[in-house]
């Protein structure tokens, strides 16, 4: 019992630390990706290739003065960012990153807690996330904020429906509500992932679209459309409160990407079985990355890169080596696959942000109710018929 | 065997025509109206072929209609040989009459072709109920059909509802039938009381164990019902008036099928009657009395349809004699042959009326033989059949009844034979006044009816001539009814035939050879003639003894006394009381939702307290 609590606390600390750092660096990655899409270098000054930029941002946001406008509804104004970030963090608690591992004599899951209604929990928490934005919009007592909050709550409850329906289809195929069993049912190769075996490609697409809307990302970022609403619901927020919303947005992105991975892409399962060499893939990737970095270190575009690229190359080669150690492979490989898949989806988020324009508001709602919802419904219907037919 | 399909087909026709017929063309109405009945006939044939020998009843269970403790009434249909005969008569003759109606109703004027669709919808509904009546496996389902045909009869008699006499006749038929139905209902109640079931098979198998007094009572009450439906004394008065309906209706409902339902029902209930000889005696007496009485009235009628109407009453009397003397199969035999020739007589008279564009009075006819020869020859078939000319349909059945009556009580035979003579005479009279002599009417565009009317006439004509020995109904039904001793007596047979031929001869003498003789005879026995001409003043007597006192009494006691004095006062009192209470309660209706909520809470508190008290403080 005690060991359970201790292990859980350790996991909690690890996950919190990694996740919050990851969120900060996600921001850096996004800025870099978009910069390269737009053919510019992006953050470059703080640290090598702007690598310390997130740290600088955090320092800036924390040390800034938190403004409290005099006409806001104080309790709710202060409460709203808290809700937003809490709800975003909560759902991470049930998301598994890998299978059971054996550490220091204890068996434990790479997951904070396993609920046998994990999917429902994620849905419930994500539906609560609306309040952060809606209340922030209302409490700011500002018409832009109010409109942004209204838009956001309408948008989120609208897209929640197709999202829930899209989630229901792979659940039918896998016949469970537990995220762990969900992955277990997709073990094997890429052919047994829900997106292929269950024929859930449409559900996957619907889920991704709805996820974009749920996280208020381009092309669905109407609540913060700056040319219409200044900055939407967080117009009046500054300092840490503003950072909370920011964090909540990125945490939500991580959550939905992880959910997509678990539901459709087989979680931490490798795309093909280990006996065909899937266990060598991470090493190969890191080795290639390391070699490329070393090559760039030998021929540096800038003076400083001679050291940074060389250092990165060395680190990558080291990681490639670590992946070859049999004693860590059992838990590192699943983690790699899980993070790789989630990362791919996150990259898609950024890629689309760099590519697509924004919807008009009526188009947005019309798309949800008149296209996405019926299609999701149809998909669920067909899936349930097929499942009933087969079983 | 899908017995339910038989009645459902006409019902579908009724629903389609009834709901949408208003927008249909006549052709489309025909398709549904006649098609459904012909299909039903075809299905009857297929069913009968499929059921084969059928020495015991074949029953189909559909659903439990009423369930109350041990008492159960199912919605069942059942077929035995008796039902087969009835099914064939109803759907076969029904189909012919439906086809005939196309021609007969073609010239109706008024909105929606004079209610053309309405006519066929009613007719189909009638077929539905009649088939339910025939197929029923218990008294209650039979009663459904029984009431239903009564309703359709009412609707069709009053088909020309813009004419007062038609609606009056409809009302009369309906009200008189109510008296009979009252008897039938009482009979059913007694059956339930005595047997605990209404199912035919169970009732009949247990009949032997029931006291004779109860059975007699049930039998007599059933007879009241049958007398109402089948127009027997004293409830026959509605049938002549029922001729106000279109002629195909008279042929189908008031000659061939519905009015024979009483005979069918009494024959069906034979196990009850065989254990209640008293009731049978009453049936036989009523039957023979009606036969004679109605025949005499028929002598002096001038409306061609009225003549045949009284003839129908009279012939129904014969059937009851057959049932009443224990020769059930002969009653059904006569039912079948009568359906042939009486339907033909009505349809023929319809053709005559059609030819004369609506003229019904015999005194305005005459000499039509050469103008509408086909009608004449087909009707002549029915004429010889009803007159009992040897080897025609009527001869066999009437003879069988009279022989059975002789075995039972010779006086019935003699009265029946005399009636047969009278029958032959008045039918001949009608025929001669219509087709012989010289034309006395005013209509000059006399034309033969269209083929669609002639075809049924021809078929029925052939059946009237040959139906007697083609269909040996008594032999066919011998397994259904208790056996009757074979009894042949050539003398008696010849006597009755002789009376029939004498009737025809007398008619030839009076209406062909010496036309003046009829008038002088009527003048000589003026008193008697007036009496008969006015149908023995039965309607007037009923009016004075039953209707007037009832109306007057109702007015005085029910209306002035009970309605105004008690009910109105009570109703008004309740109204005033409600208004006064409302005046107080209005104060609660403040329009303030929160006040309402407070009252709801108040009520809840009271309720909880009451529940607590009821539960004795909780434990």
């Amino acid at each position: 019992m005690d060991s359970f609590i201790v292990i859980t606390l350790i996991k909690l600390a690890v996950i919190a630390a990694v996740l919050l750092t990851a969120v900060a660096y996600l921001q850096w990655v996004e800025r870099k990706v978009i910069a390269h899409i737009q053919v510019r270098p992006g953050p470059y000054r703080v640290g090598p290739h702007g690598l310390l930029q997130p740290l600088a941002d955090v320092v800036k946001l924390v040390t800034k003065e938190g403004l409290l406008p005099s006409y806001v509804n104080r309790p709710l104004y202060l409460f709203a960012p808290f809700i937003a970030v809490t709800m975003a963090l909560l759902s991470i608690a049930v998301i598994p990153f890998g299978p059971t591992i054996h550490v220091a004599g204890y068996d434990t899951w790479m997951q904070l807690t396993d609920l046998n209604i994990g999917v429902l929990f994620v849905l419930a928490v994500s539906s609560m996330g609306v309040y952060g934005i809606a209340l922030a919009g209302w409490a700011s007592n500002n018409k832009y904020s109010l409109l942004g909050g209204l838009r956001s709550s309408a948008q989120m409850i609208s897209y929640e429906l197709p999202m829930a329906l899209a989630i229901a289809s792979p659940l039918l195929v896998s016949n469970t509500l537990s995220l762990r069993e969900l992955v277990g049912s997709q073990a094997g190769s890429i052919l047994s992932w829900n997106i292929i075996r269950g024929g859930q490609i449409f559900a996957f697409i619907i889920f991704i679209i709805a996820a974009f809307a749920e996280t208020n990302r381009i092309p669905f970022d109407l609540p913060e459309a700056e040319n219409e609403l200044v900055a939407g619901f967080h117009t009046e927020y500054s300092s840490m409160a503003f950072a909370s919303f920011f964090m909540a947005e990125y945490l939500n992105m991580v959550t939905v990407s992880a959910m997509a991975t678990l539901l459709f892409l087989g979680g931490w399962e490798a795309p093909w079985p280990a006996q065909y060499g899937s266990s060598l893939v991470p090493s190969a990737i890191f080795a290639i990355a390391g070699l490329v970095a070393l090559y760039h270190g030998a021929n540096p575009p800038h003076k400083l890169d001679r050291y940074t690229f060389s250092a990165f190359g060395a680190v990558f080669l080291l990681i490639a080596g670590v992946f070859l150690l049999p004693m860590v492979q059992s838990w590192l490989l699943p983690l790699f696959w899980f993070l790789a898949k989630t990362g791919l989806i996150l990259f898609a988020f950024m890629w689309i942000r760099g590519t697509l324009p924004r919807f008009r508001y009526d188009q947005l709602m019309g798309f949800a109710w008149k296209f996405l919802f019926p299609v999701a419904m149809l998909n669920l219907l067909v899936t349930s018929f097929v499942v009933a037919w087969i079983s | 065997m899908q017995l339910w399909l038989i009645p459902i087909l006409p019902f579908a026709g009724f629903v389609i025509n009834g709901l949408f017929g208003r927008r249909f063309s006549k052709g489309l109405v025909n398709v549904f109206g006649i098609g459904s009945v012909v299909l039903a006939f075809a299905w009857v044939l297929k069913t009968i072929a499929g059921l084969g020998d059928l020495n015991s009843a074949y029953t189909e269970h559909y659903f439990t209609w009423i369930q109350s403790g041990a008492f159960t009434i199912n919605c069942d249909f059942s077929v035995d040989r008796l039902t087969e005969v009835m099914l064939l008569v109803v759907t076969g003759i029904g189909s012919l009459i439906h086809i005939y109606s196309i021609g007969y109703m073609a010239h109706e004027h008024g909105p929606n072709h004079g209610g053309y669709y309405r006519f066929f919808a009613y007719l189909n509904l009638f077929m539905f109920f009649m088939l339910v009546l025939v197929l029923a496996a218990n008294y209650l389902v039979l009663f459904v059909g029984w009431e239903g045909v009564g309703l359709c009869s009412y609707l069709l008699i009053g088909f020309y509802f813009t004419k007062k006499f038609a609606t009056d006749a409809g009302n009369k038929a309906f009200i008189v039938n109510r008296i009979g139905d009252f008897g039938f209902s009482l009979a059913m109640f007694y059956i339930v009381k005595a047997f605990g079931t209404l199912d035919f098979s169970q009732v009949f198998s247990r009949a032997a164990g029931i006291p004779e007094g109860t059975l007699t009572l049930i039998g007599l009450l059933l007879m009241v019902g049958a007398a109402g439906k089948s127009a027997q004394i004293p409830l026959y008065v509605w049938l002549p008036d029922a001729m106000a309906g279109p002629t195909p209706v008279s042929a189908l409902i008031h000659a061939a099928t519905m009015v024979t339902a009483g005979v069918y029902m009494t024959a069906r209930s034979w196990p009850i009657y065989t254990h209640a000889p008293m009731a049978m005696e009453v049936i036989a007496v009523i039957g023979i009395a009606t036969a004679f009485f109605a025949a005499t009235i028929g002598l002096a009628q001038n409306d061609i349809k009225k003549v045949f109407a009284y003839s129908t009453v009279s012939q129904l009397g014969y059937m009851f004699v057959g049932v009443g003397v224990g020769a059930f199969s002969t009653g059904i035999y006569h039912l079948v042959t009568h359906a042939f020739f009486k339907a033909l007589l009505f349809l023929g008279s319809g053709a005559v009326i059609h030819a004369l564009s609506g003229e019904q009075d015999l005194r305005n006819m005459g000499g039509l033989r050469s103008k509408i020869p086909w009608t004449f020859w087909t009707m002549a078939c029915a004429w010889v059949a009803i007159s009992g000319v040897p080897f025609t349909a009527g001869f066999y059945s009437k003879d069988a009844i009279l022989l059975a009556a002789y075995r039972h009580a010779p006086w019935m035979y003699w009265l029946g034979t005399v009636t047969a003579g009278i029958t032959a005479f008045y039918v001949s009279r009608a025929m001669f006044m219509t087709f012989f002599g010289k034309y006395r009417g005013h209509e000059h565009h006399i034309h033969e009816s269209p083929p669609v009317m002639m075809l049924p006439l021809t078929i029925l004509g052939l059946l009237s001539l040959g139906g007697g020995f083609l269909f040996e109904v008594p032999k066919f039904l011998s397994s259904v009814f208790p056996p009757v001793e074979e009894f042949e007596d050539l003398t008696l047979m010849l006597t009755s035939v002789g009376f029939g031929l004498a009737g025809i001869g007398l008619a030839i003498l009076m209406y062909v050879a010496k036309p003046a003789m009829a008038e002088s005879l009527a003048a000589n026995i003026k008193g008697l003639y007036t009496l008969v001409y006015n149908k023995y003043f039965v309607d007037e007597v009923y009016d004075a003894t039953v209707v007037k006192p009832l109306v007057g009494g109702s007015r005085l006691v029910l209306w002035r006394g009970i309605d105004v004095g008690v009910i109105d006062r009570l109703a008004n009192g309740i109204g005033y009381g409600a208004r006064d209470i409302g005046g107080v309660l209005r104060l609660f209706q403040s329009g303030n939702i929160r006040s309402y909520a407070a009252w709801v809470v108040f009520g809840s508190v009271l309720l909880i307290v009451a529940l607590g008290l009821a539960a004795g403080g909780g434990r």
Binding site: N73, L120, Y131, A134, W138, I157 | V601, G618, R619
Partner: protein, 166 residues
């Protein structure tokens, strides 16, 4: 452990419910109500109703209350005005309420045996599978009827909410 959980979330529920009633601004009431619903969800979990707990959060907190807040924002409803009165409520309201609560408490105390105790895991029949099985077998007809009810409610809401066509 269980009693601690019950006390914590029971207290939150009661305090939030009181807050629902005493707050003058609808949005404060709404937020408090969300608090009630959330703590009730925890209590449901304690009672072994995991599916209902999830549904409570998804349906009530996640959908119904969002709708409330949405409407409050849409109407920009302010704090309520003390206008109009109901004599009945003024006179009868408080006594009735006390009577109701007292009676309920009395009966709860009298009727329910103290011997039945709740502990987490004491009832495991509330899983999504069990609820779903009952829903699609025993309660299929009510379930279908509710779907019809929802359809009607949607139609009603649309008809009520649409702009007048003039």
């Amino acid at each position: 452990m269980d009693i601690v959980l019950f006390l914590i979330f029971g207290t939150i529920a009661v305090v939030a419910a009181i807050n629902v009633v005493v707050q003058t601004h609808p949005i404060s009431s709404a937020v408090s109500l969300i608090g009630v619903m959330g703590s009730l969800a925890v209590l449901y979990l304690l009672l072994g109703a995991e599916f209902i707990a999830a549904a409570q959060v998804i349906v009530y907190a996640g959908a119904v209350m969002v709708l409330f807040i949405f409407v409050i924002m849409l109407l920009n409803a302010g704090a309520e005005v003390k206008r109009g009165r109901s004599l009945v409520v003024q006179l009868l309201g408080a006594p009735l309420l006390i009577a109701l609560l007292g009676l309920l408490a009395y009966f709860v105390e009298r009727v329910f045996p103290q011997s039945v105790k709740v502990h987490f895991g004491g009832f495991t029949g509330g899983s999504a599978q069990a609820v779903g099985r009952a829903l699609f077998t025993t309660y299929l007809l009510p379930f279908e009827v509710t779907s019809l009810l929802i359809l009607i409610a949607i139609l009603g809401a649309i008809v009520l909410g649409r702009k007048e066509l003039d």
